[in-house]
């Protein structure tokens, strides 16, 4: 028995296309067939009008992993989602998902236009499998997240499409799923809400919730996923790291020239660490970065990364970045970024290096400033390195405590 949260074992799925017989003349033979066997499962051969939507597709996702599924239209991505969410069953092979499935798909399918937002939260929550008490406990949080406290007792038919979508997402985001399945829903609401939504997903990722994402937004796949598969015409034509798989899909591959520093939209100008030269292990330090973003086509997919590496061995022991933390870099202009790190590391000398990463190609496009820090003995260190990063972003001039908008901490 494998310990995977999601497993697809050699799944085949047959669909019909075109007109399906729907006259009563076929009722008796059809019901008879269904009663005897499993309907479509029992027939193995392709009849006319049938096609294989999936052919021999296998994959697994374990806790802490995130699988991206990419491919052209008609590749079978939606079919995979329908099988995962148990809307349809495989023609052949097995598909299991352990625990409660949180599907960020059709987030407001259950809304009734004549009911109020409040009534719809309970209705939609129950459709997603939540109980009344659970919804009631999270109700305020959901309304807060959706940002519609004044309209919660208004019938949703009077909602704008943005409010509608935000409420749907907010309910789904508070489901506490064992497995999260996402279908292109990051295109919900305005930029600020998308960032909040993305932050919520990044948070679930940090809680080791296994994730399956289907998206045409390749940069999102690169940001979120630990591995990816490329589907084409119902079969897996490539599987590997997101970067390789995306490369296989877009056809750029290794041949593309490295973007040079001058190509990056984001520059990091300075780095300040608010700590003495030697600190005990376990201390929380704050690293403050200032930089500028110029309007440039790569800007939206860049992320500021902080890497902590051991001076002795050169290995990176921890890294965090703005994309993973759900913090957006400004579209243009100066910014100040504060990152709190808890130095849960064995006593040693470490470098803290900042850099700018192109999340689509996973390339370092700008080497930022770095610093060195000497970590002394602290409380006994156990387990893996987890620095509990907290990231704050301030846009605007660098002058100290500016009054610029502060993006909420994720």
């Amino acid at each position: 028995m494998s310990d995977a949260s999601v497993s697809f074992r050699r799944v085949w799925k047959k669909f019909r296309y075109g007109e399906i017989h729907n006259s009563l003349r076929d009722l008796l033979p059809a019901l008879g067939r269904r009663l005897i066997g499993r309907g479509v499962r029992s027939s193995h051969d392709l009849e006319s009008g049938d096609f294989w939507a999936l052919r021999d597709v296998s994959f697994e996702v374990r806790p802490g992993e995130a699988l991206g599924i990419i491919g052209p239209n008609g590749a079978g991505k939606s079919t995979v989602l329908k099988l995962l969410t148990r809307i349809v069953r495989p023609t052949r092979g097995g598909c299991t998902v352990r625990g409660r499935i949180g599907a960020l798909i059709e987030l407001s399918a259950g809304f009734h236009p004549d009911l109020t937002g409040r009534e719809n939260v309970f209705l939609q929550g129950s459709i997603m499998g939540m109980h009344r008490r659970e919804i009631a406990a999270k109700f305020d949080e959901i309304v807060e997240f959706a940002g519609i406290p004044d309209f919660i007792d208004t019938p949703v038919k009077r909602y704008s499409s943005g409010m509608h979508a935000r409420l749907g997402f907010a309910i789904a985001a508070h489901l506490d799923p064992d497995v999260l399945i996402i279908d292109e829903v990051l295109a919900v609401g305005d930029a600020a809400f998308q960032q909040k939504a993305f932050g919520r997903i990044a948070e679930m990722r940090r809680q080791q919730v296994p994730l399956v994402v289907v998206s045409h937004q390749l940069d999102r796949i690169a940001q979120l996923c630990t591995k990816a598969i490329l589907l084409n015409r119902g079969r897996v034509v490539h599987s590997g790291t997101p970067r390789e798989t995306i490369a296989a899909y877009v056809g750029t591959g290794e041949s593309t020239a490295d973007p040079i520093a001058g190509d990056a939209a984001t520059r990091i100008d300075s780095m300040i660490v608010n700590a003495p030269d030697q600190v005990p292990s376990g201390t929380v330090i704050t690293v403050t970065l200032t930089g500028t973003v110029r309007p440039h086509w790569t800007g939206t997919r860049e992320s500021v990364v902080l890497r902590v590496a051991s001076v002795e061995t050169g290995t990176t022991v921890f890294s965090t970045d703005t994309a993973l933390s759900g913090v957006a870099l400004p579209y243009a202009g100066p910014f100040t970024l504060e990152m709190d790190l808890q130095l849960n590391v064995p006593a040693n000398v470490y470098t803290i290096q900042s850099l700018v990463l192109d999340t689509l190609t996973s390339r370092e496009v700008f080497p930022g400033p770095g610093a060195q820090i000497d970590v002394g003995e602290g409380p006994p260190f156990v387990g893996s390195v987890q620095m509990n990063p907290r990231v704050r972003m301030r846009e605007g001039e660098h002058a100290g405590a500016s009054s610029g908008g502060i993006t909420p901490v994720v």
């Binding site: 006319s48 097995g94 009734h112 004549d114």
Partner: protein, 324 residues
């Protein structure tokens, strides 16, 4: 896209690009071929299927509650007459029953009396529950296309919510009826203990029909027209306006073949005639009015019908999204 299998050989064109990618668990995979000799995962037995359907339904009981609440809310939010809505349909059935009965009995001399009105009222309520439920439930799956094609939940909650919504209306009707009946000369008796039993059987039978018809209407869209016609004329083949014994011995037995008949007749006898349903009843002219076998017959319909329709429903619910 072409349906022919060989039309798909072009799928390999993407492989050449990824040929040198080599990260685990990785790489390219060979073109799969379908081998019918490979065994499927074993099909579940009937017992496993029914248990699975029941546990899933239990897991989604909150959704069933919320959907029922939705249906009731919508109906009462929109309707000007509010709770009067629950009474309108049964009241109309009673009224038309009285008109028909009056016309039938005027010639024979035995005019429609209070007991006659009471028996029509007692049977009109379950009949309008049945009709209301079936007409709502038949379209419950096709009417929630967005949900059925995009979201997982045990599909049975949709026809069941329609049934519970109508049961709510029927309960209001029953309360009103309980206040009206004493004025029609009906008094409480021990035989009233049969009412919950008969109500339960009626509920199960209605659920069975709802499941079957909603499922059938999903696959065959003309089912709803047939259902509408059957519900319109069904009242002439179900003893609502009349009592079966009025038709003579042979026809009475034929009418009682309708699985709803023993339930409606049982309700009438238990409430209006205060008759114990375990005891057979023969009219003065020798026509068999009631036999416990009728009760057994209706029970059989309810239980076997429910098991069979639940089975058909559950086995086909995983292709709903493909056919809807």
């Amino acid at each position: 896209m072409t349906p022919a299998a060989d039309g798909r050989a072009t799928a390999v064109d993407l492989d050449s690009r990824s040929a040198n990618a080599q990260a685990p668990p990785s790489g390219r995979s060979p073109e799969p071929s379908y081998d019918p000799a490979v065994d499927d995962e074993p099909s579940p037995t009937y017992g496993q299927d029914l248990r699975e359907a029941a546990t899933e339904l239990w897991r989604f009981r909150e959704m069933l509650y919320q959907l029922t609440l939705r249906d009731v809310r919508i109906r009462y939010k929109q309707a000007v007459i509010g709770f009067g809505w629950a009474l309108l349909m049964p009241a109309l059935v009673v009224l038309s029953g009285c008109v028909v009965r009056y016309a039938m009995t005027r010639r024979s001399g035995a005019l429609l009396d209070l007991a006659g009105i009471a028996s029509i009222s007692v049977k009109a309520l379950p009949w309008s529950f049945f009709v209301g439920t079936i007409s709502f439930a038949t379209q419950s799956l096709t009417g929630n296309l967005q949900l059925v094609s995009k979201v997982y939940f045990p599909r049975a909650v949709l026809p069941l919510a329609a049934t519970f919504g109508q049961a709510f209306d029927a309960a209001i009707g029953a309360i009103v009826l309980a206040f009206v009946l004493p004025f029609l000369g009906v008094h409480a008796s021990v035989a009233l203990l049969w009412v919950p039993v008969l109500a339960l059987l009626l509920f199960l039978l209605t659920v069975a029909a709802s499941l079957f018809l909603s499922c059938a209407n999903l696959f065959f869209r003309d089912v709803k027209y047939i259902v509408q016609v059957m519900l319109t004329f069904g009242i002439f083949f179900t003893p609502v306006f009349f009592d079966p014994e009025m038709m003579g011995s042979r026809l009475a037995r034929l009418v009682m073949l309708n699985p709803l008949s023993p339930l409606l007749e049982g309700l009438r006898l238990a409430i209006v005639d205060q008759h114990d349903l375990l005891v057979p009843l023969v009219a003065a002219d020798g026509v068999l009015v009631w036999s416990p076998a009728y009760l057994a017959y209706a029970t059989l319909w309810a239980i076997v019908g429910l098991a069979a329709s639940a089975m058909i429903f559950h086995r086909s619910e995983f292709v709903f999204a493909e056919y809807i």
